[in-house]
């Protein structure tokens, strides 16, 4: 896989400048912030991926500045140990650094990809430390980097995160529980069925219903 040469003129508009844009936009633009961020998000991801593929350490620093706290928050929620969370986040960024060539800089959305790696590292650790069965065939994020191509960048904006959290809070307790057990605890469907004392079919239904409810809630939120 070759190194991207796209968007060299946009390099200086990396994530760092995106952050700068965010801070000033808060003052100047008020309610326009989500739109401004959405507009800014795409091209800089491409430039950032290109710079990472050229082994620019400053690009990694910018990547960390933008996604480091988010990745750490996610991993800490899963493993519930600060030191282990930091180790896993370091491992995550190293994995991105080493495998960024599998991402198409014209199409890639590096944030969602990085979060998927972080979550997979955390769940893998959780399953290993608990002596639970690890998936024989894991979702290999590097092999499937194309899955993160052209993914909507604004799904990781803080405003969207608040909407997701609100939507999660609106879920019925059993739906919210299966979502948390699946996403943050890494339990398999069978493990969830055993933990909740429910038939496997019920768990499948609850997961599907919970996800559909989230989409419906977020769809309403976005359209409004």
């Amino acid at each position: 896989m070759g190194v991207c040469t796209c968007l060299p003129s946009r390099d200086r508009e990396g994530v760092g400048s995106r952050n700068a844009g965010k801070s000033t936009s808060v003052v100047r633009a008020g309610m326009m912030l989500p739109l401004i961020l959405a507009v800014y998000a795409g091209p800089q991801d491409r430039a950032l991926i290109a710079r990472l593929q050229r082994r620019d350490p400053q690009a990694l620093a910018e990547l960390y500045d933008f996604y480091g706290k988010m990745a750490y928050s996610l991993v800490l929620r899963v493993v519930r140990d600060k030191a282990i969370a930091e180790d896993l986040v370091q491992e995550t960024f190293l994995r991105v650094w080493n495998r960024v060539h599998s991402m198409d800089c014209e199409k890639g959305s590096i944030g969602p990809w990085l979060l998927a790696i972080a979550r997979n590292r955390a769940i893998d650790y959780l399953r290993s430390s608990a002596g639970r069965e690890r998936n024989a065939v894991e979702l290999d994020e590097a092999d499937h980097a194309p899955l993160y191509h052209r993914m909507e960048a604004e799904i990781l904006l803080s405003d969207q995160a608040r909407r997701v959290k609100a939507a999660m809070d609106k879920l019925a307790p059993n739906y919210r529980t299966v979502m948390e057990l699946a996403y943050f605890e890494g339990l398999s469907q069978s493990e969830m069925a055993a933990k909740m004392g429910q038939p496997l079919g019920t768990i499948k239904t609850w997961v599907r219903t919970a996800l559909q409810s989230l989409r419906d809630e977020l769809g309403v939120a976005v359209s409004s």
């Binding site: 996610l74 993160y148 995160a161 997701v164 996403y183 469907q189 997961v207 996800l211």
Partner: protein, 252 residues
């Protein structure tokens, strides 16, 4: 399995909770770039990614950023002055501590040397006092007083024990010049005086001097003290300041 059959499992796959055989089937479709499954799984991943981004915000330590950059062989350029400053401060602190301990160590060594000196001095003093006590308490010791007839003469006593030595206890001794010292002599009958040791008086003019060893009372006429040069003399060079004639000594 075809894409339609797999469609309801995309969410499970995105959450990493899909089970076999659906998991393997979806993976196979993705590996052969199945556009339907790629699009379906990507939509599912968007939802699961949003769930991940909704985790309660937490702040990693400041060291994590440096660790990550260091792990790819990059130094933190923007704040590189800080580690340098911290390193300089650390070095300065180490130097201060080292100097402190060196000074303290030297001070303790000096104190130890001083105490050792004092101990040696006190030990020597104890030895002298023990010798003096042995002479004073010896049954064969005789004593002679001197200086009683002079206006403010050196006064004192000489104690002679044939087997233990001579003990001189004096007072009113004048301060000797800087390059001079007192020297005690055993004045023998019909022979040259025998040097019996050098001593200095205290600030108050007192002195105690011992010449340990045997003394032949039969051949010794007197005990005398002269002022001599610092190195002492083989024979008296000045008029004796003290002369205690043993002929008039009395047994104790």
């Amino acid at each position: 399995m075809n894409c339609e059959e797999l469609r309801e499992h995309y969410d499970f796959y995105a959450l990493d909770i899909a089970e076999e055989p659906e998991r393997g089937e979806i993976r196979a479709h993705l590996n052969r770039k199945c556009e339907v499954c790629m699009a379906g799984v990507k939509r599912a991943l968007e939802t699961s990614t949003m769930i991940g981004a909704s985790a309660p915000a937490a702040q990693p330590s400041a060291q994590l950023r440096r660790r990550i950059l260091a792990s790819v062989g990059s130094e933190e350029r923007r704040s590189s002055w800080l580690p340098a400053w911290m390193a300089a401060a650390a070095i300065a602190a180490v130097l201060v501590v080292a100097v402190y301990f060196a000074v303290s160590s030297q001070r303790y060594a000096d104190q130890a040397a001083k105490l050792a000196g004092e101990m040696r001095s006190q030990t020597a003093q104890i030895v002298r006092l023990t010798e003096a006590f042995a002479i004073l308490s010896g049954p064969s010791t005789t004593e002679v007083s001197f200086g009683g007839a002079q206006p403010r003469p050196p006064q004192g006593k000489v104690f002679v024990n044939p087997s233990r030595g001579v003990l001189l206890i004096a007072s009113n001794l004048p301060r000797t010049p800087a390059d001079k010292i007192y020297e005690m002599w055993l004045i023998r009958k019909g022979a040259n005086p025998v040097p019996a040791g050098l001593f200095q008086s205290q600030d108050d003019g007192s002195a105690m001097h011992i010449r340990p060893g045997t003394v032949d009372l039969a051949s010794t006429a007197a005990v005398a003290v002269t002022v001599e040069n610092q190195a002492g003399a083989d024979q008296p060079t000045t008029t004796p300041l003290i002369v205690a004639a043993l002929g008039g000594s009395t047994p104790r």
